[in-house]
């Protein structure tokens, strides 16, 4: 078992920087999610950790060992890193047991030990009775479990998961999320989990690393990521955040007082009076209570528990979305929007 450290890791594909100077330390036994929109570099980072790609810059440590540096990489077959593929990549010509036991045979384990580990791995993922089946005879969820068992049976130091739930339907996905947490707890290995689904990342991981255009934006525990985004990208990407330009006015009992579009608001963060900063707000943080910024309602979409009201600020181009419980205002109506909570993005990282 081992942690992993990337320092200054970079990778180019032709003209595009797939990964830019990534510094990331993953603790031994941690469950880390790599989150970001498609093309953000999260899969490239995962494939660098696995050894399928060679970095163009930087270094990668697995435990105490350097496994990759610019222009060189220890091949994956010598890393003892397990991977669960988005396509599952089960070998269709092998039975479930042969799939799970492949890595053990390659390592030359004696037959009894192989069998015991195959059984344990299948038992762990709840497929005890299916060892003789071929992958084609399994459901999507079962294939997913075999892929995981195959990965766990080899006792990898790091388990890499590349959007493993992307091909499952919604309710199966939720059930598997709970299972993944349990596997992680029982195995105790380091998990690195790539996803573009923020709720999946937040539900599963100890920490979430948000990536955008090849660069790490923020690495933080899910609650911190949601409450205190470090950059505008994270603010917008996580929890449907909106960003407003504000001017800091002063402080008041631990909060910052800021002004935007003619209204004052108390928000969280650190800043000095007079600073121009960006404020992250979420639909639930906004209210229509007759005070605050003047706006005009442009749309109202009923969503069951609440109505999402979109309103354009009178003094600017900004459109804010807010949750409205109860009867929503008419389209075109003039309203006032007050900010109940917000987070001032740190300076200089807009």
């Amino acid at each position: 078992m081992a942690g992993m450290t990337a320092s200054g890791l970079g990778k180019r594909f032709g003209e595009t920087d797939a990964l830019r100077a990534v510094d990331l330390a993953i603790e031994n036994g941690e469950f880390l999610a790599l989150l970001g929109p498609s093309g953000c570099g999260k899969t490239t980072l995962l494939r660098l950790i696995a050894g399928f790609e060679v970095p163009d810059a930087g270094e990668l440590h697995l435990g105490d060992e350097v496994v990759a540096r610019a222009g060189w990489a220890l091949p994956p077959e010598e890393r003892n890193v397990g991977m669960v593929f988005q396509s599952y990549a089960l070998w269709p010509h092998m039975s479930v047991a042969d799939n799970v036991g492949f890595a053990l045979k390659v390592r030359g384990l004696e037959a009894g030990e192989c069998r015991r580990r195959i059984e344990d791995a299948l038992e762990l993922v709840g497929l005890g009775g299916l060892s003789r089946r071929k992958p084609a005879e399994l459901s999507g969820g079962q294939k997913q479990r075999v892929a995981l068992a195959r990965c766990l049976a080899m006792q990898p130091s790091v388990v890499l998961l590349d959007e493993p739930l992307a091909n499952l339907d919604a309710h199966l996905r939720e059930a598997m999320q709970i299972e993944f947490r349990r596997f992680h707890r029982e195995i105790g290995a380091t998990f690195v989990y790539v996803t573009h689904d923020q709720s999946e990342a937040m539900a599963l991981a100890d920490r979430v690393a948000v990536m955008d255009r090849g660069a790490l934006q923020q690495v933080a525990a899910p609650r911190e990521l949601y409450a205190e985004p470090a950059t505008e990208m994270v603010a917008r990407f996580v929890g449907r955040g909106m960003v407003l330009p504000v001017t800091v006015v002063g402080q008041d009992s631990g909060f910052i007082v800021a002004e935007a579009f003619g209204a004052q608001m108390r928000v969280r963060g650190t800043a000095a009076a007079g600073e121009e900063r960006l404020l992250c707000v979420r639909p639930a943080d906004l209210a229509l209570d007759g005070a605050g910024m003047e706006a005009r309602v442009t749309a109202a979409a009923f969503q069951g528990a609440a109505t999402i009201v979109s309103a354009q600020i009178e003094q600017g181009e900004h459109v804010l979305r807010l949750e409205c419980h109860g009867l929503p205002p008419e389209e075109g109506a003039a309203v006032r929007i007050s900010v109940r909570d917000g987070w001032l993005l740190p300076a200089g990282r807009a």
Binding site: P76, R79, A89, H93, A103, V106, L109, E113, P156, E186
Partner: protein, 593 residues
Amino acid sequence: MKTTRPTRRTSLSSSAVDVGAAGAASSRLPLLRFFERHFLLVLVALYLAAFALWPLGQLFAEALAPNKDGVLFGTFLDQWESRSAIRALSHTLEASFLSTLVSVFIGAVAAVLLVLTDMRWKSAIVFMLLLPLLIPSQIMALAWIELTGPTSPILAPLGLAPEPGTTNPLYSKWGIVIVMGVEHAALVFLTVRAALSSLPMDIVEAARLAGARPLRIVMRILMPLAFPSVLSGAALAFVASIGNFGVPALLGIPGRYTMLTTLIYQRLQGFGPQVLGQVAALAVILTLIAAAGLLLRSLVARRFGAAIERSSAPLVPFPLGRARLPVEGVFLAFLAVIAILPLFALVGTSLLPALGVPLSLETLTLENYRFVLFGYEAAQRAFINSFALALSAAMISAAVALPLAYLSVIERRPLARLLDLFADAPYAIPGTVLAIAIIVVFLPPLPGLGVSLYNTGWIILVAYLARFLALVLRPTVAAMESLDPGMDEAARAAGAGMLTRLKAVVAPLLAPTLAAGGLLIFMQAFNELTVSALLWSSGWETLGVMVFFLHREGNTTAAAALATLALVAALGLAGIAALFARRLPSGVVPWRG
């Protein structure tokens, strides 16, 4: 699964880590790692270099060498002084051009009728059209000779055969044009059919809304769109005609209509390896014409490859209405005459006690079959030789294609990708050219061993290995490209080295493709004539050579019997391949669209 167990210490939990097992993978010897990484690539590169690249390079060196007088490119330039070479060149161009017209006519009409009309019996028609692809040239030519000769078992009873004692009318330019035209019609048909069936329905619907009638739609809209494919198929048929040896050998040699392939054959048979420089120069001329044809084809593809939106449903055939039955009748009868009747004539001749005896229940005999199977040692040898050569070529080529495709597609090694490109060359050029190239390199004794492969069976095997690799490599590369990369990556993550991955994961997944490709090679090599006609030696006759010789010696009935047996073998193998084809992606087996 549904109950949460208390955390238990299984063999999988972190505290039970088996350091020995985890360490086993990373303790692999550096030497072994190096060996695994480079050994296969070096092996495959040497293989292709020795059997394909070096011979082709040497052929050009030999052909472009100075002549006896030391004139630069003298050997090559001398050929333009030789009247027989010029005549053979003009015959080659003339007959190939005319036979291409025949192929285009048959192939294009057939494709239009099959794809665009509601004609019935389509599978029978396709079978008859593609039959010539499965039958080697020399057998096709022999069958036609039996059909149209004065002793024809089909035409003589009807009183339609030429007068006894006269020459077979096929021993002429027009004979060559017709037989090659029929044989290569399938190439045009396949190309045009593919283009027509990829046309979308909505362009037809738009034309109908504009008021156009079916005939107008076919002529003004569909045919212009399919025209590039007609050109492309024509180029294929032309290149095939340029390189054809079986038809000009059986029809042109007695008819004194010499083409380049037969001129090369006759010179080499007549004067032996001392004329190697001359025939190499002729081979280069042949290569240049073939290359021009292939270049034209790729230009056509690039120039006219206008992307058609394949958004809508495929074409619905136009109804022929009352014309359907007559059209079907005429077309089926025509195809039966050109594809089936010659084969009946061949079988009929093989059952005759002697040429000229009318075929009847009293005269019918299996003596010819007994003779070629048990009574004639050289024919028995030919069976064994061709079987062994074809089987070795198929198995070795499949064994080479697997690592080459793997290194090129999955490992993306630049050298392997380059080799993959070059591997097509020995199949794209005429077989005669390849055979000359192989002789140029393997006639001198092998360095270090002091023995020459010339006059042994090994030289035929070397030529087959060079020529047929593409037949298994192309489908293998295609299958490898459509393989989920995760298959290999998962095995890498599991700690498997390259050889283990090839053996345990990639080879089993590609086994059907390799087997189908190997079968294609076996089918072609088993009845091969063009290459072995130049490379055979006494004791190393092949089946193709044997049919050719029996016929030339005048033992036509025995030749017909041997050809019939070879034909049965070819069709039987095609049947097996067809069974395979169902389990393969389309395009792997050529006669499936």
